[in-house]
């Protein structure tokens, strides 16, 4: 599953725009993931992040 490192996130929304499932949402400065719809393994969000705030970790 993806893990959002809130101390690293710059809440820019780059990941939100490329998420093919629409699972990410930026609520003000707080990035959230809908774990129901996240495909978990595409890693597009962790790839695109300019700061490295999204990790992919084994469940």
């Amino acid at each position: 599953m993806i893990n959002i490192r809130r101390d690293v996130c710059g809440y820019c929304g780059a990941c939100v725009s490329v998420c093919p499932q629409g699972s990410l949402e930026l609520i003000d400065a707080y990035l959230t993931v809908d774990t129901e719809t996240c495909k978990d393994k595409c890693k597009i969000c962790s790839t695109v992040c300019p700061l490295g705030a999204i990790e992919w970790v084994e469940k």
Partner: protein
């Protein structure tokens, strides 16, 4: 907040502000919601805009103009520099703005025109009745409101969630999303009248590095790279830090900004029943420069006017709103986007050897203005091998 408005605008950037202003000026009731607690912050922008483009909508004001730019300098991978502008352009190139103040001014003007502004107010879902958009659920200060509107204008920027919730796929392909990092840098030696662009597939793959002056010894220094070129150890910030260590090791950094810019084609359609999509949310930032302020202002203003006419005529169906899509797509904005997409596609993947060859050839060019068409034609003339490599591009110009 009332229960119903003629128009609900989601997002308080330049697109949303001009949409709200145009609709309010047409006499409609307008609510603009901005999810952040402040208009204009945090900045996610290099803040450059052409003087002519800005003047179409607002007179430049020192309150929100940081610097007056007279030249653009292109720097090739081996450091060769090519300057465009100066005397040939009569000093009329562009500005670097202070977006925190600029965005506030635009929203203030919308409010003056009669639009209601709500900050820290987030649209979380569309209200759909019989498959048609009828408003949005708004959260503010721990309360939830159902706000009805005849037309919603989605101006929610690069994230573009609202249109997606309403059934339009706004997802940007990873390779066409430029992932960006930028520092506000102080105490550096720069040319305060020049915007500098560095191209190199090694230093900034499928993107560029920019220096946009914010004052005499101060600048936005940033980078955009393609999403597919990003990854652990080679993210936008990693590339930027390498550039800073090499070019400005003693710089004082006072702000970090990050963001995403789409360089894809615009959405196939930017309207639906009771819905208009403007600015970055419609994927209409410039594919070459990543610039989006003017296109957002243009489409925002147009959307506000089209929505007002449709409401007065009592028909806000997709068919009635299509005039918005058709007008921007077939006008100068749409044509420039199509042309610049073709130019971007042709040059973005070039290796540094070819980029060097192009920048070297440009030192002999006499270019009168910053027009993309003239620049590309001159580059083709000086580099005959390009005609073989990019046979389709000349047609696209």
């Amino acid at each position: 907040m009332k229960e119903a408005y003629d128009i609900l605008v989601v997002g308080g950037g330049p697109g949303g502000a001009l949409a709200a202003k145009a609709a309010a000026e047409a006499g409609l009731s307008v609510l603009l919601v901005e999810k952040r607690p402040a208009i204009g912050a945090p900045v996610r922008c290099a803040e450059g805009i052409g003087k002519g483009a800005l003047a179409e909508f607002i007179e430049a004001d020192p309150k929100w103009v940081s610097t007056d730019i007279e030249r653009a300098v292109l720097v090739g991978p081996d450091g060769t520099r090519f300057t465009i502008g100066g005397e040939a352009t009569g000093g009329k190139v562009g500005y670097v703005l202070d977006r925190k103040m600029f965005d506030r001014e635009l929203v203030w003007r919308a409010a003056e025109a009669g639009a209601e502004i709500q900050v820290h107010a987030r649209a979380s879902a569309p209200i759909m009745i019989d498959g048609k958009l009828q408003g949005a659920v708004i959260h503010q200060h721990g309360k939830t409101y159902e706000v009805r509107a005849k037309v919603v204008i989605a101006a929610d920027g690069v994230e573009s969630k609202f249109a997606k919730w309403a059934g339009i796929d706004t997802t940007v392909p990873l390779w066409e999303l430029e992932t960006c990092a930028q520092y506000l840098v102080n105490d550096i030696d720069i040319d305060p009248k020049a915007n500098v662009f560095y191209v190199s597939n090694e230093a900034c793959p499928w993107g560029y590095i920019w220096i946009f002056p914010k004052g005499p010894r101060c600048a936005n220094i940033g980078i955009g790279i393609a999403g597919t070129k990003s990854g652990e150890g080679h993210r936008a910030k990693d590339y930027l830090d390498r550039f800073m260590a090499k070019e400005f090791p003693n710089a004082k950094i006072t702000e970090l900004m990050v963001g995403g810019v789409s360089v894809c084609r615009p959405l196939e359609c930017t309207v639906a029943d009771n819905l208009l999509i403007v600015g970055d949310a419609a994927r209409i930032s410039d594919p070459i420069t990543g610039g989006g302020i003017y296109n957002a202002m243009y489409t925002g203003d147009l959307a506000g006017k089209v929505a007002a006419t449709a409401i007065k005529n009592g028909d806000t169906s997709k068919k009635a709103l299509m005039v918005y899509d058709k007008t921007w797509r077939e006008g100068p904005v749409g044509k420039t986007l199509a042309r610049n997409y073709a130019v971007k596609e042709s040059f973005i993947k070039m290796d540094d050897k070819k980029l060097n060859s192009i920048v070297h050839s440009m030192s002999d060019l006499s270019i009168e203005d910053l027009s993309v068409k003239k620049l590309v034609l001159a580059i083709f003339k000086a580099n005959p091998w390009l005609a073989l490599e990019l046979p389709h591009l000349l047609k696209a110009l």
